[in-house]
């Protein structure tokens, strides 16, 4: 776990891609969940941030 955080601090690709993947997954879940309307409302911005982040961090070094 501590590897994960040092990876984040050193701007490594692996952990940051993980964060972006989780954000995208969360956004997709919020978009389609049947529980709360505000989840649906903020799903797009979550997915968008995740996707942009994914593109940016895939250029970090391994």
């Amino acid at each position: 776990m501590s590897n994960f955080f040092t990876g984040l601090l050193q701007l490594r690709r692996g952990p940051w891609e993980m964060v972006a993947t989780i954000l995208i997954g969360l956004g997709v879940f919020m978009l389609m969940q049947p529980f709360v309307l505000w989840g649906f409302t903020y799903s797009f911005i979550t997915t968008l941030i995740g996707t942009v982040m994914f593109i940016v961090v895939s250029h970090f070094k391994e």
Binding site: E17, T21, I24, G25, G27, V28, L31, F40, S43, F44
Partner: protein, 315 residues
């Protein structure tokens, strides 16, 4: 991808060779070769995409050309993302996504596991099982509509045969309860072979010696299954799930032919809903914003997919 030192060494043309090459430089050739592809994709994919983004901030209607087009900022996005009807369409999509993936993984993995027993003639039967996924989804949807007809359709009759129900007592496509399941059944019929093929590739990628070593350690068959088979197939399974997820999130042709979104809007998946807004109500600006929301979602999932793809490729 090709980034090993060996590859790099091979790419760098030795100077001795370089001097002898006639004609264009490698760099020029590279651009001549890649150029047309990039140009085509820019013209037919990227330019329209940018146009959609621009339209999504307006109240443009494509069937009223003379009308003044106003820039209305994020209003389209606000309206879509607070619309509880669209939220319901998303839930219908979620139902479709979840259950198709659930059944396809369950049946697909089981089939792959059985085929991997290498019984005689498994190649032939695999090919037969694969056939449905190669067919045109629209035509498949159309003929399943025939199979689902109450009274005259084969499906009701088969169900009646096994359950003793009256074949005209239920309508798969006409009932609010059954319609969402009818599309799940057809999609599962069509795409289980896809999951099966990928699982099979995963199973075949496991080297025999791992099982042999486990046997030496006296691990039970069940234990081998959960500690070797499942973890080794998992990356492949992830790939299959992501791909089916993306494909079914944008599902259009099969379902539009089968139910047309009805009855009511019980099977109105997002793409069908979007088509209504864009090409029946002609709310182009609004539909563009809708399209961008779907696009970003698919693009996000696609980036995860490509990551998974490269992971499997490295094996």
């Amino acid at each position: 991808m090709s980034d090993t030192p060996v590859d790099r060494a091979a790419t760098a043309t030795p100077p001795r060779v370089a001097r002898k090459i006639k004609g264009l430089s490698d760099r020029a050739i590279a651009w001549i070769f890649v150029g047309p592809t990039i140009f085509l994709l820019l013209a037919i994919n990227i330019f329209p995409l940018i146009w959609t983004i621009k339209l999504s901030f307006t109240n443009f209607k494509a069937n009223r050309i003379g009308r003044e087009v106003k820039n209305i900022g994020f209003r389209n996005y606000e309206r879509i993302l607070t619309d509880s009807d669209i939220w319901l369409n998303m839930q219908a999509t979620a139902h479709f996504l979840f259950w198709t993936i659930f059944f396809q993984v369950l049946i697909g993995f089981t089939l792959a596991y059985l085929i991997n027993k290498k019984f005689k003639g498994n190649d032939l039967w695999t090919t037969i099982i694969v056939l449905p996924m190669m067919l045109s989804p629209a035509v498949v949807g159309n003929f399943w509509k025939f199979l689902y007809q109450p009274q005259i359709g084969l499906f009701n009759y088969v169900v009646a045969f096994f359950t003793g129900k009256d074949p005209s007592s239920f309508e798969m496509l006409g009932s609010v309860q059954l319609a969402p399941w009818s599309i799940v059944i057809v999609d599962t019929w069509m795409w289980t072979p896809f999951v099966m093929l990928i699982c099979l590739a995963g199973l075949r990628s496991i080297p025999d010696y791992i099982y042999e070593a486990a046997e030496v350690d006296r691990a039970s068959k069940l234990r081998q299954f959960f500690t070797i088979t499942i973890p080794m197939v998992l990356p492949f399974l992830m790939l299959a799930v992501l791909f089916r997820g993306i494909e079914n999130f944008k599902m259009f042709d099969l379902v539009v032919q089968l139910t047309g979104g009805g009855p009511g809007s019980t099977t109105e998946l997002t793409s069908i809903n979007l088509k209504r807004e864009a090409f029946e109500k002609w709310r182009t600006g609004y539909a563009s914003a809708y399209a961008i929301i779907l696009f970003v979602t698919v693009f996000g999932l696609a980036s995860i997919y490509v990551k998974a793809l490269n992971k499997v490729k490295e094996r």
